[in-house]
């Protein structure tokens, strides 16, 4: 069953006075099946973040459409959008985006409180997730008191506590040391094994090598994709690295 379908997506940024048009995305199409773990790779400025923002309904495409579980995102009214985002999507960002005015527990509760859930239900939902993320001990601490890994795991907890249809991750290991990165990627893999659909944008080969499928994007266009098949993480890592080399040394000639 298709969870997410992206159809010939295009995005053009226009300068303030109409001139200076920048094409951030052009004719991007792909789909993500339910329970899939997809990584999107590309250099800085390749259009990854634009793509993710459109998928998150934070930005609007200039052409094409995004369909999540059969629902066209562009058809959702502005005032329903926030609620939709809250209920159907989970986000993990590179810089965690935890509010420094809340302790970790309240940060995790934030989307549930916004959805109007009672305290009892929230506490009940939090307990297994916190345990899984290994942050039960630091729940009452504030972001400035926690390590990057703890913060990112709290951010993941916040993203999955609403049981979203799809988890969108934007460079989630970008601000973490290698040990924390490994921990987080294992966490993602285990979430995926339990059926969580994940779409991750990254330029870390290591992060991408945990995914089931890797899409490559360059200059706003979808360039290539690799399926894991039966490969181990290490084999996938090698394949990705090869593709990236190809991309960097003028992949167009082989297109």
């Amino acid at each position: 069953m298709t969870m997410l379908e992206v159809q010939s997506l295009g995005k053009i940024y226009t300068g303030r006075f109409g001139g200076n048009q920048v094409r951030a995305l052009s004719n991007v199409s792909f789909s993500v099946e339910k329970g899939e773990y997809v990584a999107i790779m590309g250099e800085s400025g390749s259009g990854k973040t634009t793509l993710l923002n459109i998928l998150a309904a934070l930005d609007k495409p200039t052409s094409g459409k995004v369909i999540l579980e059969g629902r066209d995102l562009s058809a959702i009214k502005e005032d329903e959008l926030a609620a939709f985002r809250r209920d159907s999507l989970g986000f993990v960002f590179q810089d965690f985006n935890l509010l420094d005015t809340f302790n970790l527990r309240d940060n995790i509760f934030l989307p549930l409180v916004l959805a109007g859930k009672g305290y009892g239900e929230m506490a009940e939902r939090l307990q297994p997730i916190a345990q899984k993320m290994g942050i039960t001990e630091v729940l009452t601490k504030y972001p400035y008191e926690c390590s990057g890994g703890q913060k990112q795991r709290a951010a993941v907890a916040r993203a999955v506590i609403t049981e979203p249809k799809i988890l969108l991750a934007d460079e989630p290991t970008g601000a973490l040391d290698s040990k924390s990165s490994d921990g987080l990627l294992d966490l993602f893999a285990s979430l995926n094994r339990e059926g969580q659909t994940i779409l991750m944008v990254t330029h870390s080969v290591k992060a991408a090598s945990h995914a089931g499928r890797v899409l490559f994007i360059k200059d706003g266009e979808l360039f290539h994709q690799i399926y894991r098949g039966d490969s181990t993480n290490e084999q996938l890592y090698q394949k990705i690295a090869d593709t990236l080399t190809l991309l960097a040394t003028g992949g167009r000639e082989h297109e």
Binding site: A56, D79, A82
Partner: protein, 676 residues
């Protein structure tokens, strides 16, 4: 390195930070201008030639001190705020290779530019506005101002010198503080310092409770102090308590309250309360002192302007109570009054509404059953101190047009600012029966400027009045005149003579004064008349009143303006820093699933609370200050409560409107910062 580099860097920094340094320079210039004006008013030759010049200059000199103190605190505070905001920028320069001594050079140039601009603009504005202010003061004081500069060139130079020296010193202190801030910090700290303030605030319960107690005590004093003599002293006690209370409650109390709310899980985990409570906690942590400053400044503005404008607007009422007739001759005798009548008639001035009556006045202590004249005066008994005026029935009936009759032991009674609830009154060894409490009374300015309660007593006849006059001398340790001989008693039995001139014309009244003065001096010289008492002409006294109330009024407005400016600047800076901090939160909340509208509404509500909290608190403070101020104003014969109510409401309305306009204007800067 290139010598001009630092100068150029400093200029570039100021331009880049124009949003924060522009208002700082403007505020500095305005403070300089205000100081120049008040300083030159205090030495102005034109003012010195006015009637009541001594009073005016005393008030102006007081103003100079206040403005100078204000300038030091205000400019220093604002600068420390700006430097704190810029630590990151300094850290970046440091990392890029500018040593601390280089940074110090940049700051030197920056401070020089700021000081030069502020002083130049301020002195220019001060000189330009000086004449206007002079005319305004003259207008308020009701005199014609001489044209042209009344401050001579030497005086002018002196004024400019003093201003430059004072503000030079202030900016030097500011410079030293800024350099110190850079020197004590390490580069990494400089880079991170803006995030250092993000620790969760601790709830300081003891502080919050002390604050509550201080505020409560201040309010309690303000409401319960009924004795006017104590009111003046206690007013300052109350002011200090309320200021302490305000600071503690804004800093510790607000956080404590929010923590209480947060601990209540059913309240806290609601969509509307969740972000508001935690957001407010951080806002209060960062802004509490600034908000308390705004609150105190606003309260001062409100009290000052409403108080002084009440004095000014109520001056005529105050004069009429103190000097009931155009011409008043109190504590006099028949011979003197005959001389005055003749002098006035000879000058061709017709006397209208003539009144003449015998009376005595003395001081006593109020007891439940009567008046006590033997106790020694001490401050703790002042609560029951009273001034007593006694007339006899015949004079009373004649002067007031009443038709009362009294038995030998009966009296009529009228009390002001106190009550006597028994039917008898013991007075100087005799118990009188209070036949009736009356409203109309002989007009006398004798008791009205006193700090005490007023008692008017009407006795049955002249003989009784004389008996009382003698008794006041014979009473051991009598509050007044105890050591005088009986032979001098007749001076105590005074005679009041008062009349109006046609149309209450000031010029005629002053002409009458001249005639009376001439006759009086003549008689004093040749001893032809047994002189007693004094002469008080309302038109003449008014000039004294005008110079005192007028200069107080001017100063009230002047300082009010200055403080308002300070409050506005603090509001502006608060908005800016809030805007920067909120930007990040705004974005995160949107990503986590709040709609743009919801986020805007949440933030808007918090900002609104933060900025109108000081105004509301200032309003409450002013409200509680009302009873005690009203009592102090009663000393100035402004007993009419309604009058002061209108002054306070008017001032508050105008101030609130100004505050709202400033808020609306600065809110635009705020939303620009948040939404970009």
């Amino acid at each position: 390195m290139n010598k001009h580099l630092y100068a150029r860097l400093a200029a570039r920094n100021l331009r880049k930070n124009a949003r924060s340094y522009g208002p700082f320079i403007l505020a500095g210039a305005l403070t300089v201008a205000m100081f120049t004006i008040i300083l030159s008013l205090s030495v102005d030759a034109g003012l010195q030639s006015m009637t009541g010049a001594v009073t005016i200059q005393l008030v102006m000199r007081y103003g100079v001190v206040v403005v100078a103190l204000f300038a030091v605190i205000f400019l220093f505070y604002t600068n420390s705020f700006l430097i704190k905001r810029r630590k990151r920028e300094f850290g970046l320069y440091n990392v890029l290779g500018l040593e601390k001594k280089h940074l110090a050079k940049v700051i030197t140039f920056e401070t020089l530019y700021v000081a030069a601009l502020s002083l130049a603009l301020g002195l220019a504005a001060g000189l330009a506005l000086n004449k206007l202010m002079m005319l305004l003061v003259a207008k308020i004081l009701g005199v014609e101002a001489p044209l042209g500069f009344t401050v001579g060139p030497r005086m002018l130079l002196w004024v400019l010198g003093v201003t430059a020296a004072l503000f030079g010193a202030i900016y030097l202190a500011i410079f030293l503080y800024s350099v110190r801030q850079v020197y004590v910090a390490r580069p990494v700290e400089l880079l991170q310092s803006e995030h250092a303030g993000e620790r969760e605030p601790k709830a300081r319960w003891l502080m919050a409770l002390i604050g509550l107690a201080c505020l409560g005590a201040g309010y309690y004093i303000a409401i319960t102090t009924t004795d006017v003599l104590q009111a003046i002293f206690l007013f300052f006690v109350a002011v200090v308590l309320v200021i302490i209370g305000t600071y503690l409650l804004f800093t510790a109390g607000s956080v404590a309250l929010l923590k209480l709310l947060r601990n209540n899980k059913r309240y806290y985990y609601k969509t509307r309360h969740f972000t508001a409570v935690s957001g407010m906690m951080y806002r209060m942590k960062q802004n509490a002192v600034g908000l308390a400053n705004i609150c105190i400044l606003s309260t001062m503005v409100l009290v000052m302007i409403s108080g002084t404008s009440c004095l000014m607007l109520g001056m005529e009422q105050s004069l009429r109570t103190g000097y009931p007739y155009d011409v008043n001759i109190p504590r006099s005798n028949e011979a003197t009054i005959a001389m005055v009548k003749k002098a006035v008639a000879d000058a061709g001035i017709p006397a209208e509404n003539e009144t003449e009556y015998d009376y005595i006045t003395f001081t006593a202590y109020q007891r439940p059953d009567g008046l006590e004249t033997t106790r020694d005066y001490t401050l703790d008994t002042s609560a029951s101190l009273c001034d007593v005026l006694v007339v006899d029935l015949a004079d009373y009936n004649r002067c007031t047009g009443q038709d009362y009759t009294l038995g030998p032991d009966e009296i009529l009674l009228k009390t002001e600012r106190t009550d006597h609830d028994r039917d008898t009154l013991e007075l100087l060894g005799k118990t009188y029966t209070v036949k009736e409490r009356v409203k109309p009374m002989v007009k006398s300015g004798e008791l009205t400027f006193n700090l005490t309660t007023s008692w008017y007593i009407v006795v049955s006849d002249k003989a009784e009045l004389e008996r009382l006059a003698r008794a006041t001398y014979e009473a051991p340790n009598a509050a007044q005149g105890g050591d005088m001989t009986v032979g001098e008693a007749r001076y105590l039995l005074g005679r009041y003579y008062g009349f109006d001139v046609p149309g209450h014309d000031d010029e005629t009244a002053l002409r009458a004064r001249l005639a009376i003065r001439q006759a009086w001096n003549q008689a004093a010289e040749d001893g032809s008349v047994d002189l007693a008492g004094t002469y008080e002409i309302r038109a003449w006294e008014r000039q004294d009143f005008v110079s005192l109330y007028g200069s107080l009024f001017f100063l009230g407005m002047f300082l009010g303006l200055l403080f308002t400016m300070a409050a506005i600047l603090i509001i502006y800076y608060k908005q800016m820093s809030e805007g920067r901090d909120d930007r990040e939160r705004f974005q995160i909340m949107q990503k986590v699933g709040m709609s743009r509208g919801e986020v805007k509404k949440t933030i808007h509500a918090q900002v609104l609370i933060v900025f109108f909290l000081p105004l509301v608190t200032a309003g409450v403070h002013t409200g509680f200050a009302f009873p005690i101020l009203n009592r102090v104003l009663a000393l100035f014969n402004l007993a009419g409560t309604n009058f002061y109510v209108w002054c306070v409401l008017g001032t508050f309305g105008a101030f609130a409107a100004l505050y709202a306009v400033v808020y609306a204007l600065t809110a635009r800067t705020y939303y620009k910062l948040v939404s970009t």
